[in-house]
Symmetry: C2
Subunit: 570 residues, 2 copies
C-alpha cells in the first residue's frame, strides 16, 4: 500500500512538471486539472490548436529540463481572495476555486509554476527520474458535453528505468491484444454506433464461441442442481418501482416506452424481479429449498457514451445470472458450493490466479444488523472452510447485503472482477418472499444473487485479451484447418474433413501456395493445421502443424482423432 | 368450397334467428351485427343487464319455435330514407346505415323480424336443423374501447345432429387441451398482465423443454451448414426507417425510447436488418455463398390487447429465424433443402399432416416482374421436384417477394401456420447488398427469410395442445419418476435415480400411499414411473409403469436403460 501511495505522489508531481513545461512553451494555454490515475497521470489543457507529435516531443524535453532544475516543491496556504489574484488568468482554475467552500486553499509551487492543488507531492522536481508522455485525447471540461473540449495529455513515470520499460512493454503488449482489434481481425463481432452505441453484433465466429460457452454453462448448472428460466426483456414501470430500481438505478435504465392507456414499459437492467415473480406464483415448502434458478438474461443499461469500451463496457449484455433461495441454515453450504462452481468455471477458461474480497456492511443498508452479522460470518466461514485466502473490504457491501467478489488475474497481470456472490435482504422484504417452514409457518427465505462470468460479452473480451486471441481448442471457432498442397488434393482433403466431423474443421479451398495457406491459418489463430498432398495421400499419414509451434509430426487419421479428442478434454 | 359457402349462409341465418328470438324476449335490446365466422356465428346485443344462463336457455327455446314456424326469408331492397324509417329504434343499425354510400340498401325479413343485411341467407328459417348457443362474451361496439360494451352471443349450427355433436365434442376436447390451462397445471409458464400483457415467464419445467428444443434446433442447423448469430434487441430508429419497418410496420412496433442528444432507440420487431448489418461488414465473394445465418432472435411487437392469447399470440417472442444469401442459380436447391429441413423438424415434433401454399405476386410489390416470375417458378419447381402437393394462393405473397407456407394439422384437425419460406427483393435493394461474382463484378444476392417453428412460444403452445400436455419422451421436463412404496425405500430409489442420471429423473419423496403417488405422476403427465419396494429391492427387477397405459412389466436396471434409450431415439 505504501508503494502505491508513493507512486500516486510521484505521478501527481510529474503531472505538475508537465503543466509547467506546457506553460513555458505555450503561455496562452489555460490549465484544467492534472490528477494521478490508476496507471500514471494526465493533465487537461485548453488550447485552440491541437498538440502535434512534435509539440509533445518539445514538451518532454522541457520536462526533462525542469527535472534537472530540481525545484523545491512548496505547499502554500492562502485565503480565497489571494488565490483569485494568483489564478486571475486561469478561468478553469477560477471555476474550481469558486466551488470550494473553505476560505483557505492550498497551492503547490515549483520554480515559476504555481498550481491550485491539494497535494500531496514529492519534495522536489528532481525526484522524478523516468517518464514518458503516452497519448493525447480530448475530454469535455468537467465531463460535460456542453462545455469546452480540452486536450488531455496522458503520461507515466517511475523511479527506475526498468520499471518504465516494463510498463511500456506492457502497454505495447496490451495494445496488440486489444480485443477490439482482435475481434475485427478474427471476425468475431462488430459494434455499430450509428445503430446503437455499446450494442454487440456477434458474427458467426464469435457466435459459435458464445454458443459453446453457453452450452457448457447450462450443462454444468443443470448437473449442479440448477433449473433454468427464461424471462422477458421488458416490464411495466410499476415493477421497477416496486423493486426499487427506479429509486436506486434510474439513471442507468433506458427511458420508458409509452404504450398507451397510461402504461409504460421499461427494458430490464437486471433479471432479479422476474425471478421473484416466478417464485411468487406458488407456495414453496421448505422441502423444495434450496431453489437454484439460472438464466442467461440479456439486460440493457444506459451507460454514458464516454465509458463504453468494446465488449468490456457495453449497453446490452447477457448476465450469467442465478438466484438461490434457501433457508438460513442452508446459506453456508450454498456459498461453499458456489465458490467451488466459480473456481471450476474460471479454471476451465484458463484463469488460475485469483483475488478474493469479502465486502461488509456499508453505512446505508437495509435489513437488521443481526442478519448482516450472521450472513457475513457465514460468508467468512465458507471461505475459511474452503481455505481460500481473502481480504476484507470494510463497508463495501451493497446496500442490500454483504458479498464475495472473486477477481481473476489475466496473463498481463491485470485484475478483472467477473464473479460475484451477493446476499440480498432487500428483495425478499420488498416482494414479501416466503416459504412454509418445518413448523408450517411462513418464513422468509435468504436470497443469493450470483454471476460467475459476469457478462458473456465482457468475459469474452477479457478471454480474448488473456489468450491473445488464441482461444483454447474446445472454444476455437475453427479447430482444425486442412490445407491441400494443391487443388489436386481437395477431394482427399474433403474426405479427411468428413472423418474429422466431430470437430470444427475447414478445408482451405483457395488456389494458393501452401506457405501462404499456412501463413493465413496462423493469422486466423487456428489451433491445428493438417497438410495433405501426394505424400500424405500415399502413406495415409497426415502432417500435423500446431499454431505458433510448427510441425508436430505425421499421424494416421485415427491417431489424429485421438490427439484432438485429448485436446478437447484438456 | 361449396359446402363452406353453404355453411356460411347456414350460420348467418341462424344468427338472424338468434336476433329474432332475443327481440321477442327482450324488446328493449338494441341490435349490433351478427355475421357468420370461421366456426359458427355470433350476434352483438346492447342490453343493460347481462344475459344469464337462464336467459340463454329461453332464447334457445324461442329459436326452436322460430325454426318450427318456418318463416320464408325475403330479401328487400329499399332506399336509404325508407331504411331509416325501418331502423328508427336501432341506433347501432342507423350508425351502420349512415356509413353506407349507396342509396339502395338490402334488408332480410323473416316473419316479424327484419334486419339490415347484405346476405346471403337460406330460403327459410326451417332449413336450420341443429344449433347450440355456446357462450356470451363482451365486445366493444366497432372494436373501439371508448364505445359501448356489447354482449356477444356465440353459437353453432349444422344440418345434421351428428355434425353438431362432433363439433361440440371438438370444442370440449380443445378446452381440456387449452395450453393456458395445461401450462398452469403442469407449471410450464405464466403470464402477468400487470407486468406486461403478452410476455411469457418460462418456469423451470417449461424452460427445460425450451432448452431442449433450442439445443436440437441449433445442432441440426449447424449440421446443415448454418452459422449462428446473436444480435441486439434494440436499434436506432434510423435503422427502422432505412429497413422500411417504420413505413410498413410502425403500428406493431413498441414506441421509441428517447436516450437524449436527439437519439431514439426502438425494440426490434424483426431480426432481418441486424443480419444485413453483419452481411455488410465485409466484401462477400461468390465462393462464400450460400451463407446461411440463423438466430433464435427475440422480437417485440405491440399486438392489440384484445388479440393476445396465451402463448399463441404474444407481444414478445423468439423467432427461429434464418436468412440465406445466395446466387440466383442456387435458389432452387436452397428451397429444396429448406423443405427437407422443415419436414424433418415438424415430423420430429410429431406432426405428420401438412398443407402447403405457394403465394404469388400481390398488387403492390417491389422488384421486377421478371424476378418475381423467376422466383415463383423456382419455388414451384422445388415443390414439384420434392413431390409435395401444394395449393396456389394467388396474389397472397408479401409485397417484397413470393413465399411458401407450410401449415401443420394438429391432433384435433386444426391447421396452424408455423413454417414459412420467403424470397425478399426489398431488403437487398434498400441495403444495397452485393457480392463479387465469378467475373469480378458486383451482383445482388437473393435473400431468403425463413422460420421453421415460427415462434418458440407459439410452437410450444401448439405442441402442448397437439399432445394434450403429454410431451414426447425426449421433451418431457421429467421423463421418469421413481416412486418408493414407502419411506423405507428412498435410499434405494436414490440409487436407481443415480443409475438413470442420463435421463431427467425425479424421486417422489413424499410420505404418501403408492396409489396417491401414481395418481400424481399421472396428473403430471410423466412418461414413465418406476415403482420400488421390498420385492423390487430383493429381485433387482423394477416395476415399470407407462403414463396412461399402466404396468408395462418388471425389468432389471440395464434393460430399463435400454427401454429409455430407445424412447429417446424415437
Amino acid at each position: 500500500m505504501e508503494e502505491k501511495e508513493y507512486l500516486k505522489r510521484y505521478w501527481h508531481t510529474t503531472s505538475h512538471i508537465l503543466a509547467q513545461a506546457v506553460k513555458r512553451l505555450f503561455p496562452e494555454v489555460k490549465l484544467g486539472i492534472g490528477p494521478p490515475i490508476e496507471n500514471g497521470f494526465y493533465y487537461d489543457f485548453y488550447r485552440e490548436k491541437p498538440f502535434t507529435p512534435e509539440d509533445i516531443e518539445r514538451i518532454e524535453k522541457e520536462m526533462r529540463k525542469i527535472i534537472e532544475q530540481n525545484f523545491k516543491i512548496e505547499r502554500i496556504v492562502v485565503d480565497k481572495k489571494e488565490a483569485e489574484k494568483i489564478l486571475k488568468d486561469e478561468k478553469f482554475k477560477l471555476e474550481i476555486l469558486s466551488g470550494i467552500e473553505d476560505d483557505k486553499v492550498s497551492f503547490y509551487k515549483q520554480g515559476e509554476f504555481i498550481d491550485l492543488c491539494e497535494g500531496p507531492h514529492l519534495s522536489s522536481t528532481g525526484e522524478v527520474k523516468y517518464f514518458k508522455l503516452l497519448s493525447v485525447a480530448s475530454a469535455y471540461w468537467r465531463g460535460d458535453e456542453k462545455r469546452e473540449s480540452m486536450q488531455r495529455i496522458y503520461g507515466i513515470s517511475f523511479p527506475t528505468e526498468e520499471k518504465l520499460k516494463e510498463y511500456l512493454n506492457f502497454i505495447e503488449e496490451a495494445k496488440k491484444r486489444d480485443h477490439r482489434v482482435l475481434g475485427k481481425k478474427l471476425d468475431l463481432f462488430s459494434i455499430h454506433p450509428e445503430i446503437g452505441s455499446g450494442l454487440i453484433f456477434w458474427h458467426p465466429k464469435g457466435a459459435i464461441v458464445r454458443k459453446i460457452i453457453e452450452d457448457f454453462w447450462k450443462d454444468v448448472h443443470l448437473k449442479n442442481g440448477y433449473q433454468l428460466l427464461y424471462t422477458p426483456h421488458i416490464a411495466d414501470i410499476s415493477l421497477w418501482e416496486k423493486s426499487g430500481h427506479l429509486s436506486f438505478y434510474k439513471e442507468y435504465m433506458f427511458p420508458p416506452m409509452d404504450i398507451g392507456n397510461g402504461k409504460f414499459m421499461q427494458l430490464k437492467p437486471m433479471n432479479c424481479p422476474f425471478h421473484i415473480i416466478i417464485y411468487n406464483t406458488k407456495l414453496i415448502s421448505y422441502k423444495e429449498l434450496p431453489l437454484r434458478w439460472a438464466e442467461l438474461g440479456t439486460v440493457y443499461r444506459l451507460e454514458k457514451q464516454g465509458v463504453l469500451h468494446g465488449l468490456l463496457r457495453v449497453r446490452g449484455f447477457t448476465q450469467d445470472d442465478a438466484h438461490i433461495f434457501c433457508t438460513p441454515s442452508q446459506l453456508k453450504d450454498e456459498i461453499k458450493n458456489l465458490i467451488d462452481l466459480v473456481y471450476f468455471f474460471l479454471k476451465k477458461f484458463g484463469f488460475n490466479e485469483f483475488e478474493v474480497y469479502l465486502s461488509t456492511r456499508p453505512e446505508k443498508f437495509v435489513g437488521s444488523i443481526e442478519n448482516w452479522d450472521r450472513a457475513i460470518s457465514e460468508l467468512e466461514n465458507a471461505l475459511k472452510e474452503k481455505d481460500i485466502p481473502y481480504k476484507i473490504d470494510p463497508g463495501e457491501g451493497v446496500f442490500y447485503g454483504p458479498k464475495i467478489d472473486i477477481k481473476i488475474k489475466d496473463s498481463l497481470g491485470r485484475l478483472w472482477q467477473c464473479s460475484t456472490i451477493q446476499v440480498d435482504f432487500n428483495i425478499p422484504e420488498r416482494f414479501q418472499l416466503k416459504y412454509i417452514d418445518e413448523k408450517g409457518n411462513f418464513s422468509q427465505p435468504i436470497m443469493i444473487h450470483r454471476a460467475i462470468l459476469g457478462s458473456i460479452e465482457r468475459f469474452f473480451g477479457i478471454l480474448i485479451e488473456h489468450c491473445n486471441g488464441n482461444l483454447p481448442f474446445w472454444l476455437a471457432p475453427v479447430q482444425i484447418k486442412i490445407l491441400p498442397i494443391s487443388q489436386k488434393y481437395i477431394n482427399f482433403a474433403m474426405e479427411i474433413k468428413e472423418k474429422l466431423k466431430d470437430f470444427r474443421t475447414e478445408v482451405d479451398l483457395k488456389d494458393e501456395k501452401i506457405n501462404k495457406k499456412i501463413k493465413e491459418a496462423e493469422e486466423e489463430k487456428i489451433p491445428y493445421m493438417v497438410i495433405v498432398g501426394e505424400k500424405e495421400m500415399k502413406s495415409g499419414k497426415l502432417s500435423l502443424r500446431k499454431h505458433g509451434k510448427g510441425m508436430v509430426g505425421e499421424f494416421e487419421i485415427e491417431k489424429l482423432k485421438e490427439i484432438f479428442k485429448k485436446e478437447m478434454e484438456e
